[in-house]
């Protein structure tokens, strides 16, 4: 089995079967990371480039480990050490990398659409590791993997995503994926952080967090970008935490087995209390699963010939 597309650019437009294929494949890769020898030869001889135009610890490392555990040759490029500082265009940089013969380029970029732009102009497979406010498909896939692992299914789940929806690629990708898988999505945040027209995309909108988490199976908290205070999106951390922060009391309104997620990095005491983050969340499971999901994606995009385990 393999994905029919050359690239993974977004969740929008993916079918439930395609998502299920990735999640099922990830399940078979998960135990590779638990072994003594954390390596399979699936991508031996393949060259994969991590091209990161935005700071990232989790995602970049996760992709790097995923590639290495599949035996790919991984190269990391970050903007501060590349020709980008000399004014080279994105396409020129990517073409030069491709001229050295690579198979896959993983790109993170602050501009929405940058991965699409490259994908339509390169032969290599392109994986979107997050572009602007557009999509972060591997994050949504690892989130769905984690939900399915913890709760046994995706269909019928009620998922509340809380925070700055307008500026969140994680929220968009999860909304598309969860909707495709038959889950009910609630989006919650102040109106200043709700993007225009989002109400027509299949989610219910809440400004009252107590109501948004009522009976939810999953509460997904988003990181608050503190610099958005200056743009007038919220008055201050104190009020934000009171209205849209997840604490123990609020968590009790959710279903008994509800799980708490966060794509990280977290602002302790702001969108999530330390107590909830440390005692009641699956944040670190998400990170663990991220490696397996990214292994599955790289494997499926490269043709999907099953490794001998």
């Amino acid at each position: 089995m393999s994905l029919k597309t050359k690239d993974l650019l977004g969740i929008k437009g993916m079918t439930a079967d395609e998502i299920k294929l990735i999640l099922d494949t990830a399940a078979t890769f998960k135990d590779v990371s638990e072994r003594d020898i954390k390596k399979v030869p699936a991508l031996r001889g393949k060259t994969v480039i991590n091209l990161f135009y935005e700071a990232s610890t989790r995602t970049r490392t996760s992709f790097e480990l995923a590639g290495k555990r599949l035996s790919a040759d991984m190269v990391n490029i970050s903007t501060s050490t590349s020709s980008v500082v000399k004014g080279e265009t994105l396409l020129d940089t990517a073409r030069n990398i491709e001229a050295m013969k690579c198979n896959m380029i993983i790109i993170r970029h602050a501009c929405s659409g940058a991965p699409q732009y490259l994908a339509s102009r390169l032969k290599s497979s392109v994986i979107n590791a997050g572009d602007g406010f557009h999509e972060h498909p591997t994050q949504a896939l690892l989130d769905m993997f984690t939900m399915r692992e913890k709760l046994g299914k995706l269909e019928g789940l009620t998922v509340a995503i809380v925070g700055d929806i307008a500026h969140s690629r994680v929220a968009r990708s999860n909304l598309y994926g969860l909707t495709a898988m038959g889950a009910n999505v609630r989006l919650c945040g102040p109106p200043t952080m709700m993007p225009s027209g989002i109400e027509d995309k299949g989610a219910r909108i809440y400004y009252d967090m107590d109501k948004a988490v009522e009976g939810a199976d999953v509460i997904m908290m988003l990181r608050l970008q503190l610099e958005r205070q200056a743009a007038g999106l919220f008055p201050g951390v104190r009020e934000y935490a009171r209205l849209f922060g997840l604490n123990k009391a609020r968590l009790e309104r959710a279903n008994k087995n509800a799980i708490v997620m966060h794509p990280g990095p977290i602002n302790r005491g702001c969108e999530i209390s330390s107590e909830v983050a440390d005692d009641s969340s699956v944040i670190l499971d998400q990170v663990t699963n991220g490696v397996a999901v990214r292994m599955a994606i790289m494997f499926l995009l490269s043709g999907g010939i099953k490794p001998e385990a």
Binding site: A110, C111, G113, F133, H134, S196, G197
Partner: protein
């Protein structure tokens, strides 16, 4: 040299002419019109315009010719060649060159470069020095050296007090003040219309209100100052409504829109199409309908192109970084003729918005085929079907979202001052 244009369908809104007539040009002026076959000058070059429309030379009151400073995008020579190819005999060039056209040296340079150009060039001077929105440019000098209007196009005059003073001061010269209406704090770093598509693409949006607020401000300032104010490139339904109300109250204000605002919606941006990135941005179907209604009921006086040439390198790449604007001179007529086909405008009304009205707004003695007028004439074949081929545009830049579009009707001959 005499030119006799025979058998054409003459449309001259200024004289309410809409019939088959012959037209004689001599000494670079319109000599006279007469029944087909009635004019028989000696030694005239004859143009058979059977089946064609013969109309006053089209006037585009909003173009960017990029010279001086950005000659790699366009020059006065290539820009006017594009104008001529598109049927425009006159263009007004915006002052956002480098240096900005905020003094007579730049105005004179432009007019000097335009002497051999394919179309007439009427410069528009800056409202403020360097178009920085801080101090008024020397308007007397700009006016005396040949500027026909003032505008800080592309850089909205955010300070209402400065805009007020500019309008007041412009009355000394009866100079038109053209406003690029954009509340820049509200548009902020926006790159497309704010709405469902921007949300889906994860691009920063520009709400209609960013335009409407400034349209409302400038209507109020026009009322306060009684100056002649013209609103550039209107894109939003609310702007049309505000202007309609203002005109009904008798406010002296005129307005233009561009072919892209009645031909495309924000959907054109899908796939991060940088060729659909312009400012103001492409809006929704509701806005397109309102623009058409505004054209139909006379709220919108003028169709202009906002011809904005850019090199392909700066018009491609990441959507956020691509520059705003498209070329328009060579597609405007074909796109506008669709309005006639759709029943939005009669042919006469359309020609009016492309010639007589901009001439009137600008106080130019143009836009008519009256005897004695300059022989600026556009001959249009309304039946010619053609496909837009960006690579064959006369403009130095090829940034058009209309590449591959099938259009009907184009200028087949553009006569500027009696020159074919």
């Amino acid at each position: 040299m005499n030119i006799l244009i025979k058998n054409g369908h003459i449309i001259d809104p200024a004289n309410k002419i809409d019939e088959k007539l012959d037209l004689l040009v001599s000494s670079n002026k319109i000599e006279k019109l007469g029944k087909p076959g009635s004019l028989s000058p000696d030694k005239a070059q004859i143009i058979d315009a059977a089946g064609k429309l013969v109309v006053p030379g089209l006037i585009d009151m909003h173009v960017h010719l990029r010279e001086p400073g950005f000659e790699y995008k366009e020059t006065i020579s290539t820009g006017t060649a594009a104008a001529k190819a598109g049927g425009f005999t006159s263009v007004c060039c915006m002052p956002n060159t480098n240096p900005v056209n905020d003094n007579q040296a730049v105005t004179r340079f432009i007019l000097d470069q335009a002497r051999e150009a394919s179309a007439r060039v009427f410069p528009i001077g800056a409202i403020t020095k360097g178009s920085k929105g801080e101090e008024l440019a020397e308007m007397a000098e700009l006016h005396a050296s040949g500027c026909v209007a003032i505008s800080d196009d592309g850089r909205p005059v955010m300070n209402a007090a400065i805009m007020r003073r500019a309008m007041e001061y412009s009355k000394i010269f009866d100079l038109l003040v053209i406003s690029h209406c954009e509340e820049s704090k509200l548009s902020d770093k926006g790159v497309m219309n704010e709405g469902a598509v921007s949300t889906e693409l994860g691009l920063r949006g520009i709400p209609n209100a960013a335009e409407e607020i400034m349209v409302a401000r400038d209507i109020a300032l026009a009322e306060l100052t009684k100056a002649r104010v013209h609103i550039a490139h209107v894109s939003a339904a609310g702007s049309v409504r505000l202007i309609r109300d203002a005109k009904a109250r008798g406010v002296k204000i005129t307005v233009e829109t561009c072919p892209h605002y009645f031909s495309l919606t924000e959907e054109a941006v899908q796939g991060y199409n940088t060729l659909a990135k312009m400012n103001p941005p492409l809006r929704t179907a509701v806005d397109v309908a309102a623009i058409k209604q505004g054209l139909k009921d006379g709220t919108i006086d003028v169709i202009a192109t906002d011809h904005a040439p850019h090199g392909m390198d700066e018009k491609s790449g990441e959507f956020d970084f691509a520059l705003f604007g498209i070329v328009g001179l060579e597609t405007a007529l074909g796109l506008s003729l669709k309005l006639v086909e759709e029943g939005v405008l009669s042919l006469t009304e359309l020609i009016k918005k492309l010639s007589l009205n901009p001439a009137t707004v600008l106080n130019l003695k143009k836009g008519t085929l009256s005897p004695g007028a300059d022989a600026d004439i556009t001959i249009i074949n309304p039946a010619e079907k053609w496909v837009v081929d960006a690579s064959r545009l006369k403009s130095k830049s090829k940034n058009t979202p209309f590449n591959g579009w099938k259009l009907k009707g184009r200028a087949v001959q553009t006569i500027v001052g009696g020159k074919i």
